[in-house]
Symmetry: C2
Subunit: 580 residues, 2 copies
């Protein structure tokens, strides 16, 4: 089989205007960006506001190995399979971050014959949305630090000097870090505002840090806003600092929210692309599901649900991660839950979940994991069972997609399929990677069966509960653990956030994706663990409380042999090595 990049570059793509027309998007609702991508205008939503709504399918997975289980392949493949069986379908995916593209993970366009194309445009810049998020985020950072600087410099004369209110910002309590869409470990913790002795020309010295842009609250806002007015309002609520008397200082307070909205205006429109088999695909926002909510945007879903009968989207990592947040955060903001969920599983992934191997991120997987091993598969099956039941916990019908790899044996696949069926869940083997949509028609039929079932979607917790009650529910009902352990900082954060009136927000858990628990070493379906809560951060614009559990990094690093080593351009300007 050819490499992903060669398959993508050799694909015969439709002009994007034709893709749009077939999807029901009018020519004047489209802003083409070259031949292969286009922004879709908000006017589409105004035109179709009363159109019947399609069904929303969220693709999730078992607890992944560091290699991933092929969730994007299955998302794209399923959409192609649905098209192949005659459904009017669209896919909605996140924009890949350039950090992992140049780091350890490579691109995120799917793979084989189930890709969004052109994969090099999807993986690099696309239409610039992530850059816009970085710019808006870093404008707010520069603005709050400059405001603190000028307030300090002028003291009581600040108002008279500038005509702006003195917000009495506490320089020690600027809570807005900076972002960059790159894996850069040395930026995790920094001291900013270094000055020559006796000078303050470079602002106030303080410790700060950089997150990867996917972790920015603005990325969450881009994904969770219902429209442009909602986006603008949410930007105003972002808390950048606290005053000396403990009041939140927002982007609106320092009058930077309008400029942030101007920067994000074009990014608020999803980008239309296509799969290798011509399924119209909206690409929008790029949050990570471990350190953010990890789902594509509500705006893209809203558009797709008005254009198509079935919309396939994807939540990051396992169902304890992106799918949980698709239900408890995204569905709450959108007023629409999933109608079905696909749980992607692989033989190798379940064996990795057996607990029989010492797996560490960044290290090669043991060869045994790719070979038949009935005992390991049986032990790892507990993990798949947990994820099926987890999806059902939200009232969402589950369909298991067994994503076939070349080395997989028919015997093990048949055994696994039987086990899933014995649980009463739907299951299909997917060969979407090798065969495209033709390899996913069985899965497509199963999904249509699940969608025929009346949906009974429910949240795991009510937002109005206390923060501690929500965290407890997440740890116990959400992950199967034995409660939570709050650090002193976490207790203080909770008290402060509730006193400020933000106790009613849902919680966005930052957690390792490599276990259902907080501890990456606990494989399968662990039950005997207590979730440590290190601290909580208010994301008033995104509309959630961000909760740090365990040791979660909000800025990855580059590995010893990073992905960029192989990437180059050839004499014709074609990009090479992006899939190596």
């Amino acid at each position: 089989m050819q490499s992903d990049l060669i398959i993508s570059q050799q694909a015969k793509l439709l002009p994007i205007a034709d893709v749009a027309e077939r999807a029901g998007i009018l020519a004047d609702e489209l802003i083409p960006q070259g031949e292969a991508k286009a922004k879709v205008k908000f006017s589409l939503l105004q035109r179709l506001d009363n159109a019947p709504r399609g069904k929303l399918v969220v693709v999730t997975a078992i607890t992944p190995t560091p290699l991933g289980e092929g969730k994007t392949v299955t998302t794209i493949g399923l959409s192609q399979g649905l098209k192949a069986i005659g459904q009017q379908v669209m896919a909605c995916i996140r924009q890949p971050s350039m950090g992992p593209v140049f780091g350890v993970k490579g691109g995120a366009a799917g793979g084989g014959y189930s890709q969004v194309a052109p994969m090099e445009e999807l993986n690099l810049h696309l239409t610039g949305d992530i850059h816009a998020v970085s710019a808006a985020h870093n404008l707010a950072a520069a603005a709050i630090d400059a405001r603190v600087y000028h307030e300090q410099r002028h003291g009581e004369k600040f108002e008279a000097k500038t005509g702006l209110p003195n917000l009495n910002i506490d320089p020690e309590r600027v809570v807005w870090d900076r972002v960059v869409d790159m894996n850069d470990r040395t930026l995790r913790r920094v001291t900013i505002g270094l000055n020559a002795p006796g000078s303050t020309a470079n602002g106030l010295e303080r410790e700060s840090g950089f997150d990867i842009t996917a972790a920015s609250e603005l990325m969450a806002i881009l994904a969770l806003a219902n429209d442009l007015a909602d986006l603008r309002a949410r930007l105003g609520k972002v808390v950048l600092a606290y005053s000396h008397d403990g009041k939140p200082v927002t982007a609106e307070d320092i009058q930077v929210a309008g400029a942030m909205a101007a920067i994000l205006r074009d990014a608020a429109q999803p980008t239309l692309m296509q799969t290798l088999e011509g399924v119209p695909t909206l690409v929008h926002a790029g949050p990570f599901a471990n350190i953010a909510h990890g789902n594509s945007s509500i705006i893209a879903d809203r558009m797709a649900l008005r254009l198509a009968d079935v919309v396939v989207t994807e939540g990051g990592f396992g169902s304890d991660m992106g799918f949980e947040k698709a239900c408890n955060i995204k569905a709450r903001a959108a007023g629409k839950g999933p109608d079905a969920a696909v749980v992607v599983a692989t033989l190798r992934g379940l064996k990795a979940n057996s607990g029989q191997y010492d797996l560490r991120p960044g290290q090669a997987l043991p060869q045994a994991i790719f070979e038949p091993d009935a005992a390991a598969l049986e032990a790892g099956f507990a993990n798949l069972k947990w994820h099926i039941e987890n999806v059902q916990r939200y009232g969402v019908p589950a369909v298991v997609a067994l994503n076939r790899f070349p080395q997989d044996t028919d015997e093990e696949l048949a055994w696994l399929k039987g086990q899933v069926e014995a649980l009463g869940a739907r299951v299909a083997i997917s060969e979407a990677f090798a065969k495209g949509g033709a390899g996913a028609t069985e899965l497509a039929h199963q999904v249509m069966d699940a969608l025929a079932q009346p949906a009974d979607f429910q949240f795991l917790y009510e937002a109005e509960q206390s923060i501690e009650a929500k965290l407890l529910t997440m740890a116990e009902a959400g992950y199967g653990g034995n409660g939570i352990e709050l650090s002193d900082k976490a207790r203080a954060d909770i008290a402060r956030l509730e006193a400020l009136g933000f106790g009613h927000l849902p919680v966005c858990m930052a957690k390792t994706p490599l276990s259902i628990s907080h501890d990456p070493a606990l494989k399968g379906a662990p039950s005997d663990f207590v979730v440590p809560v290190r601290g909580l951060r208010l994301c008033a614009g995104a509309g959630f409380i961000y909760v740090l559990t365990g040791n979660v990094m909000t800025m990855p690093g580059l590995p010893e042999r990073p992905g960029y080593l192989n990437i180059d351009i050839d004499a014709n300007g074609n990009i090479t090595g992006l899939d190596e």
Copy 2:
């Protein structure tokens, strides 16, 4: 008169495909990005490689006030004036940096009836080129710091562990800082790689800094590359660090140059836009003329010179800044010098150059400067005279454009015009701001006269001279000063760069734009000064030695009342306040 933004938003623009067609660009050489902008492919250069070359007009100015003298207005207005008198003309300008847009300067699209439109697209993102420069730059930064980290961590086992050569990089001599396209004073000097006690998980702690993206060497490379292959080769030569034995460590050495080229591939194509009167305009690169070379790209010039008879471009600040670098750096890389230069002058700007006022950046100008004042005008005229002679020093015919403001009197303009004519230079009053091209036809005729004269372009110095000789020539012949004063660091830098074999590169002077000298307080045509040289930095990819004189900042800060205060979006998503 309406505001710039309203004029721009109300303009009837041609579809960009029509603009391209009228300019002689084929449909398959164009990558439209919406209705109003398009990337132009390199295939145009292949098709037109042997086409006759047009004439290149560089617009420069007197020593500017902090308000600017209307150089972009005159550039755009002149191009419209040339079109009005029947010339086939194109304009080439730089992409505005978002730093000044949200800081103190506002947009950079021209103004009044001489603008590139839509101004909000030009001023925000455009087609993402500056974001691409930031991303490529910061990938190199993350890559070199990660390489140092992994080399240190593994020591002698690094090669065996990774299959990569141990470059023996000196952690103390990583010379590649990071960039952000924002005015952010607190990032000027930072400590990166802070770690918890006993840990090195966040890399190696060291002092570092951020420049604004316009100052990035990669921005210079984007502007100075002749084509994509040249761009790729230059990226490989960028020096990121030095080894323990003093050898430069390049982007090629750590195999990151290919990925940087992939990031910059689309940005290497200029963006086609149009002026309010339909003059095709290529927007490309965005270096600042005080901290970089300050000119639009060679690639854009090459395209425009094959399509049009006259190409109007712009060098930043006064003729001691962008124009000097257009001659000594850009023309050397392009193999083509300017055929004529326009020196923009204003009554208020010359009065500001009289030395009679205490002008400080960021503070309001005194009212007197806008009122008739024969003595101040006469005193300030010395500055215009210097810039006319400076242009002529390069063998380039000069045309003075007196950019008229509403409060200017006929008497003072007539006096000034007479003074210029008495010097034997061409001169015209420009009303391009208020009247568009119709206000610049006299200027257009004068420029055509100047172009009829045989050009006799020459460099100020030969690149092969020693670094010290080049600096001396710049200080004396270039600025009219009395030599240079080298700091100890500068002397050491010179010795090191010559020993490494880079002594033959031209010099890129980082200097205040507010005086012909290094000292912003010295107005008019100062002569009794010695240029202090603080240090020199190798830009082996851009192909010049970057020279720091005086106190030049490579990262601006946000003022007390920053430009972003007024910016917002309205209910229809239109951007407001960008011109306030």
